[in-house]
Symmetry: C2
Subunit: 387 residues, 2 copies
């Protein structure tokens, strides 16, 4: 994936402007077999007031975003700008917008075919991407060759000759290699497990960059590192290196990473703590798992179905993080309320970090039931298949 | 509701025995307009091992429960009994059982008709209970008198002459009074708001005891009060008075209460803190909201759709709770890990408290992703319509 693509995504050096309207929940809507709901069903069932202008936008389309970069000073300036937190009817709007940025395209689910292995749906493949796979008839079996037995009568599966995980990993890996950077940009040579749900049997392993093209679920760990100073919590925030392939220059958690095949969540947190922030094992073993968030995002042929395990680590006041793998430009310790303002008012954060920080805001009491849309925002943190 | 009924519910003085089997999730299942899923869809998509015996049962039927009472000594004894927390494949089973006890009868949803006010579904009424309402044709309008416009073609609504909230409150209140203790036991003379979702317009108010007979959503606040001693968290647990009308003698949160019409969550927490545990406002204002759990439970004509706002309050080590309304027999401070064992191994806790304590266990790192079924248990804490 090129840097240009990501620059087009989400960099903004000014607060969003002009508020959008919000759909009502239809109580009569039936839900699809995907076990996921359109984003609109998580929005408040009663619209935010739209008669007055606000500082925030629905920002449903990335392509219209301004693509300038920003500095720490820009972020700190916005975080310190005054906000009327007493306006309970509109305060959560900026958070809803960020959740929506992680959950685009639910209306396009019908363009995807289920990808089925051993009678389990493990992914979803776009009709257009299926055409790229048709040349590999010894690896994939396509709808026309099967009886109409799937939920919509159609699905893609693996060739029955591929019986073991190793055979499947090798065969699909060959296809990914053949399709190359043109069809599957950003190949990392890192394998993700293909499974129907976390902890279930692993059917095979797939190149990480290919995961969204096959719509397989990807798991990750995200850690909020915080410090308590005079009773006030502060979050350590990273700014990604400008040369990082994905989301260059954007704000990030202290520690986060994908969960590759063969390592458990805690060990992965400990490993990433060391690599990304120089946190020694003696501290990182104290990171506690606190739940999970999930989202589903359709972007062209890509169907991301991500589940992020969330961790909190309370750090000593004198700890200073130190990036050891060159992927982080710098870190800053920012009061939680100011981090919340950056999330609400900008798109400076890597999109999925917003979800994990909003989850932190809920668990630590920064978002309260008195704000309009509390339960809707809470539910929206687990869109898609959180399993 | 008689004491006998509640004794029949959940009192056990011994750990559960014999494990049940657990259904697989069907990825192909379509979901109903109720925005809720059968409990089985929240169970792990891959069954717990069933080839070996365990100490825990699925306990899907209350009626077969032993109905003896228990003492603090019984609870403490069980909490201290050894558990192999290293058995990651089965450790969560006891928690799943408790979630299931809050979410019975999803297969009976079809016996209920939607209760619609101003085009919003506000509740669900059992076909049998509808027959009790037929004598009140100036208050309710029934399916046969309306065109088939509902989700299943049928619904119950209020008479169009009842236009204001006050008129509706008064008219439905009259019906509740006429039906009396025989049809609606446990009348409390406490009004709950009738709404489609939290924070949405309130259509009228309804006697609390009648809420499940009309299937309206009920909101409450539950607070975990905890103390940190030498880095170990302990929870203050209450034991309900043996003379309390509901769930006598059972274990409970330090503070919990329904959310009546006209009071916000924080004020309700502060009020209940004072009444139930003698916690002064200077301490209770520090209670932080940390999220919400929900469940849906069908029991005969009763359809409970509850949403509980969860609070944490870290208390000083020297604080001793003191019940001021006679509803609590006594309190004990118990290490969190031991509370978890009581939840897993017994049915000593009032059923919905288990959900809120399991949520606490997630947020404070006592349940980790390494345990089989982590995400399924996490999702199961918000069954039904958490809005």
């Amino acid at each position: 994936m090129t840097r240009h693509r990501y620059l087009n995504f989400v960099l903004l050096n000014k607060p969003e402007t002009a508020m959008g309207t919000v759909c009502c929940i239809s109580k009569f809507a039936t839900l699809s077999y995907v076990r996921s709901r359109p984003f609109s069903s998580f929005l408040p069932s009663h619209p935010f007031p739209s008669t007055t202008s606000t500082n925030f936008s629905l920002a449903s389309s990335f392509s219209s975003s301004v693509t300038l970069s920003f500095t720490w000073n820009d972020a700190i300036g916005i975080s310190e700008s005054q906000t009327d937190t007493q306006d309970r009817s509109r305060y959560l709007q900026g958070f809803f917008n960020k959740v929506q940025l992680c959950n685009r395209g639910s209306e396009k689910q019908s363009e995807f075919l289920p990808f089925v292995v051993e009678d389990h749906i493990v992914g979803f493949i776009h009709n257009g991407f299926v055409e790229h796979l048709r040349g590999f008839g010894d690896v994939f079996v396509f709808p026309k060759e099967k009886f109409n037995g799937g939920p919509n009568g159609d699905f893609v599966s693996l060739h029955p000759m591929l019986k073991t995980a190793d055979e499947r990993t090798s065969a699909v890996g060959y296809v990914v290699q053949q399709l190359g950077e043109e069809r599957i940009p950003g190949i990392r040579n890192e394998l993700y497990p293909v499974t129907s749900s976390f902890g279930a049997p692993i059917f095979f392993s797939l190149e990480r960059a290919a995961a969204p093209y096959f719509g397989i679920k990807a798991y990750g760990v995200h850690m909020n590192g915080y410090v308590e100073v005079d009773g006030q919590k502060h979050l350590w925030i990273g700014k990604r290196s400008d040369t990082k392939q994905t989301y260059p220059g954007m704000l990030d958690h202290l520690v986060a990473g994908g969960l590759p095949h063969g390592i458990d969540c805690q060990e992965n947190v400990i490993k990433e703590c060391e690599e990304e922030a120089g946190i020694p094992r003696s501290l990182s073993v104290k990171a506690i798992p606190v739940g999970a968030v999930s989202y589903m995002d359709i972007d062209g042929y890509r169907y991301k179905r991500d589940v992020l395990f969330c961790y909190d680590l309370k750090l000593p006041k004198d700890f200073i993080p130190n990036n050891e793998d060159g992927e982080v430009d710098s870190f800053k310790l920012i009061p939680v309320r100011q981090v919340a303002e950056v999330i609400r008012k900008t798109q400076f954060f890597k999109t999925n970090c917003s979800l994990v920080i909003i989850d932190f805001l809920f668990r630590h009491g920064y978002i309260t039931p008195e704000y309009h849309g509390y339960l809707d925002l809470l539910r929206s943190l687990r869109i898609g298949d959180c399993s």
